[in-house]
Symmetry: C2
Subunit: 263 residues, 2 copies
């Protein structure tokens, strides 16, 4: 955590997206101190969710409390897959009732949204690429996320627009416009979609420019929809993780300048 | 080809879906003779498409001619990915303009549909799972396929409903109903979606029951939509391909009986 915060400061980044396990490893209090002393905004806390797993309620209340303490702009919600499906594990006893799983997510939000609202935390529903529907998120499109958010105030339940997850969607531009009109874009996340995908599809993300995504059109659409918050670069990629952090940030800033800011 | 046809006959299957490269290897005339003598229907010829590649028009006219000669119920169209993206190959010079690629597919159909109509061939637009959007098909949802088919007569341009490709879609049941109402279901294909996916996602298909799909609901929806044609089992899976063909068909028939017919 200290290294990441220091890297942001040295490279002139103004905000950081935090992951709960890293916050826990550092300690919540120390993390708050680190980011405050560095003058960083917390663009998001990742992640609440997995609402289709047993015990989801207690864990998500803790995540909401942490997001409140960190003054994170939002708590990213990865809602979970089919009940019983464990990412990366062979299938055991599972439920194949996708409609029921989606209804369960809807019900779970009725429990969590009021708790988040009381603490001033914004839940950010993240539709994941359909290839993760079984094991990580039964929420697969931006339109579906907006339908799910509809009963709540936009400052309590928003959505994440992540280029990796939504670039393929024939309805994406209309739904980005809708998300803006409804005031629900809680985070804009960018990374590229690699082709071919690597053996572990979770790590199929690349530095902007290394894959197939047209960042100009999506970034223009998000800007036209009125989003003025932080743009988060989120890359799950074994090579990026293994590389020198300063080189990664240097490349990231260069690509960001060309492909996102220059869009 | 002879082995496949013989296997169908011995196991009491009444129809076979053919692939163009196998037809070419056997010879078109001999293939026609084999399937006619066996009394098999040709449920589909796979595949035309790759409309975003150079030279698509000539190749697709040939595919239409072959489908006509085989009296195939339809010619499955896998429309192709982003221009320049080659499945399985590192990215070279590509176009990232997905909207343009989709518009190009729409334009290509205006060339091919009249040719197909003259020969009595039904083009069957197949939406592919969004994880193949870059390299195999910019057609990603059933709704998008129906929009693309809309200008043409249903007997000239239909759609494929393939469980593997559409199971995750929040709009799938509405779009299956629409496809039925518009008379456009040209083929219903079944296979399972494996979790976790194998290293090569193209081969992420499994025997029905080995993955995460609820076949009952989808099969009921397709039946309720009025589809009475052949149901095709199409499994790209290295283990299935390596197994004894008679065992594969025996397992397939058992699973089909339980999960599809028994739905």
């Amino acid at each position: 955590m200290a290294e990441a915060v220091d890297g942001c400061v040295r490279h002139g980044l103004e905000a950081i997206g935090l992951w709960r396990q890293d916050v826990a490893a550092q300690g919540l209090g120390e993390t708050i101190e680190l980011v405050r002393n560095a003058g960083l905004r917390v663009s998001s806390l990742c992640r609440g969710g997995f609402l289709t797993a047993p015990g989801f309620e207690e864990d998500n209340r803790r995540a909401i409390d942490e997001a409140a303490a960190l003054e994170a702009a939002c708590l990213v919600m990865v809602v979970g897959g089919l009940p019983g499906v464990v990412p990366g594990e062979p299938l055991g006893t599972i439920s194949r009732d996708l409609t029921a799983a989606r209804n369960h997510v809807e019900d779970a939000l009725t429990l969590l949204a009021p708790y988040a609202a009381e603490r001033g935390v914004r839940l950010a529903l993240e539709p994941l690429h359909p290839m993760y529907c079984a094991d990580r998120a039964v929420l697969s499109t931006l339109g579906q996320a907006l339908d799910l958010a509809a009963p709540y105030a936009p400052e309590t339940v928003g959505v994440v627009v992540d280029t990796f997850h939504v670039w393929w969607d024939p309805q994406v531009f209309g739904q980005i416009e809708r998300a803006g009109a409804e005031g629900r874009i809680a985070s804009y996340q960018v990374c590229d979609f690699l082709s071919p995908l690597p053996a572990d599809v979770l790590l199929g993300r690349g530095m902007m420019g290394d894959g197939v995504i047209d960042f100009g059109k999506l970034t223009d659409a998000v800007a036209a929809a009125g989003y003025t918050g932080d743009i988060e670069v989120e890359i799950f990629n074994a090579d990026v993780w293994a590389a020198d952090p300063d080189e990664v940030v240097t490349t990231m800033k260069a690509r960001y300048g060309t492909l996102i800011e220059g869009a």
